[in-house]
């Protein structure tokens, strides 16, 4: 498994859309390295014949009838942020 570098930290932070300051990168390198060192203990297990387990219960997605059960709560839900107008959420300009 590969080691964690400053470049790795910056790439991951971008993927996660987390703004990391230059001064914080070294600490992330150290922390993530020690955590992945712990994670490498998984290498000792032979899992070549094992299936993945995504979920504890033996179940599949329940289906339901295609009827409307929810009401439009836009007005109530948009009270959660002041950045709304005419039923839309306000964001910085995206398209030039």
């Amino acid at each position: 498994m590969s080691s964690i570098t400053k470049e790795t930290v910056n790439t991951i932070a971008h993927l996660a859309r987390l703004g990391i300051k230059e001064s914080e990168v070294a600490e992330y390198v150290e922390n993530l390295s020690s955590i992945f060192h712990l994670v490498e203990q998984m290498d000792a297990a032979d899992v070549s014949t094992i299936t993945t387990m995504a979920h504890p219960l033996d179940m599949c997605q329940r289906l339901r009838t295609d009827t409307i059960t929810e009401t439009n709560q836009r007005a109530q839900l948009q009270k959660l942020t002041p950045f709304t107008e005419a039923g839309l959420y306000l964001v910085p300009q995206v398209i030039e």
Partner: protein, 485 residues
């Protein structure tokens, strides 16, 4: 006034016999919160007016003769459950201003039983932590020793019940966040089987591991409350369509013939010798109650921590991507562009441990690493589950220590995340398998509580509570309270 030293079963009888009203009972606990919580910091929000209103409604329901058996019993709710019209912060600046627009199903069920919500309890941010030192609202103190942690992430709920500020509290458990604080604060802490309690309205950390549960002093009280919160919920696609038994009915079953498995891996290096000795005493007690002790092995136990610290962060990185500053939650000032809005809102809104876990999870799921980390961990999860299924073919219950040591000092592990993660060694595998687990008081080492963990087969909460109840009939560890409160 020793009202707070009564069990919920006793309070329910008292309310039915009109020895006092729900308003008097609620006021008693609200006064204790005012008197003591500054020392503990166990509550983020105290809902005094709502509590009195709910208590009046409970009294009215009792007056009219159609009340639930637990109508008027006060309860503290972990601040991870959405409570309509009430701040729901998840211990984070990200949701500091968030007023939930709906009730979680668990909250709806508590309200339907006319339980009285005292307030929302403090917790490690987004349920990530084992000490309640990661809260935006400051750390919680252990009522048994204020220089020590109560455990986490449900540290506020544990401290509140342990100090007699609430007779019960809800919690959530993803890697041990009910059982570990229960062990460190001398409480009975139950994590039900995955799917037993609805996750609708329970702010998600790791969706295949999270489960809501409760803190009480006794197994009987836990049975009464589990009865309220358990059950199928259409709004939770992972909710189990399994009937809820009457948990109180099975409490009185004698333990003769019960086979208790003791995993050798839970008694090896890393376990404090005195904690181990305390658990051995509990094992002897179970033998006196008629149980047979069987040595078992859970050979892949060592893999639980590395597997968990891939799976949980991976799921958390996905779940926490919704906090983008757009529709709710913290938004940074004057964003330059959309990317700046996302990055700064999230950097400002989340604390250190949350960011660390998002980073781990994102890395584990990223191209080139997904197979090596995430898929591998999901296969190890299968091995861990198989270990338990093999064990349950030989025994009815598995017993061991809940934690490797008693409560550690505030700040002791704060700079070393790996050391903090290792304190979950006995609890984590239970979440990976989705099994039910309970921690119950088993004694003290140097004045600090020791918890024993019992693990049951899928949906065997009735058996777990029965076993703990029988133990609590012949021991009194669970009746001890910290003298300062």
């Amino acid at each position: 006034m020793t009202l707070h030293m009564k069990t919920i079963a006793e309070m329910a009888d008292d309310l039915a016999a009109k020895r006092y009203s729900a308003v008097e009972l609620t006021t008693h606990f609200l006064n204790r919160i005012k008197q003591y919580d500054q020392q503990l910091n166990s509550f983020i929000t105290v809902t005094e007016d709502l509590a009195i209103q709910a208590a009046k409604q409970a009294d009215a329901a009792r007056q009219q003769g159609h009340a639930h058996a637990l109508a008027g019993i006060p309860i503290a709710q972990k601040d991870i459950f959405c409570t309509k019209g009430v701040k729901t912060s998840c211990g984070s600046l990200m949701l500091d201003k968030f007023i939930a627009p709906y009730d979680a199903t668990l909250i709806e069920k508590c309200n339907a039983a006319n339980l009285v919500m005292l307030g929302k309890t403090n917790m490690d941010e987004f349920a990530m932590g084992s000490s309640n030192e990661n809260s935006y609202y400051g750390p919680v103190k252990n009522p048994w020793d204020l220089s020590r942690v109560p455990g986490g992430s449900s540290g506020g709920s544990a401290a509140a019940v342990a100090a007699g500020l609430a007779p019960a509290a809800t919690g959530t458990d993803t890697g041990g966040s009910i059982r570990q604080p229960a062990a460190l604060t001398n409480l009975t802490g139950l994590k039900p089987t995955y799917g037993r309690v609805s996750r609708f309205g329970m702010i998600a950390f790791a969706s295949s591991l999270d489960q809501g549960g409760i803190f009480t002093h006794t197994a009987e009280d836990a049975a009464l409350l589990l009865q309220v919160i358990a059950g199928f919920d259409n709004k939770d696609s992972t909710s189990a369509e399994k009937a809820v038994p009457n948990y109180r009915d099975s409490l009185h079953q004698p333990l003769s013939g019960l086979r208790i498995g003791i995993p050798k891996e839970f008694f090896s290096e890393g376990l404090n010798a005195e904690v181990g000795a305390t658990i051995q005493t509990a094992i002897t007690q179970f033998q006196k109650l008629g149980a047979t002790i069987v040595d078992i092995s859970l050979p892949h136990s060592q893999m639980a921590i590395p597997a968990y610290y891939v799976i949980a962060p991976a799921e958390c990185s996905s779940n926490l991507s919704r906090y983008d500053g757009i529709r709710y939650g913290h938004r940074c000032e004057q964003p330059k562009d959309l990317e700046d809005l996302y990055k700064r809102s999230r950097a400002e809104g989340f604390g250190k441990e949350v960011k660390r876990r998002i980073m781990i999870g994102t890395y584990a799921l990223s191209a080139g690493y997904y197979d090596a980390y995430y898929l591998k961990a999901q296969k190890i999860r299968q091995l861990i589950r198989q270990d338990f299924l093999d064990a349950f073919s030989k025994v009815d219950i598995i017993l061991g220590p809940t934690t490797p040591d008693t409560a550690f000092k505030l700040g002791e592990k704060a700079d070393d995340p790996v050391s903090m993660y290792l304190s979950d060694i006995y609890t984590i595998s239970v979440n990976l398998a989705g099994l039910p687990g309970v921690s119950a008081p088993a004694g003290f080492v140097k004045g600090l509580p020791v918890g024993m963990q019992l693990i049951g087969n899928y949906f065997a909460e009735d058996k777990l509570l029965n076993v703990v109840h029988q133990y609590q009939q012949v021991t009194d560890w669970h009746k001890q309270s910290p003298t300062a409160f």
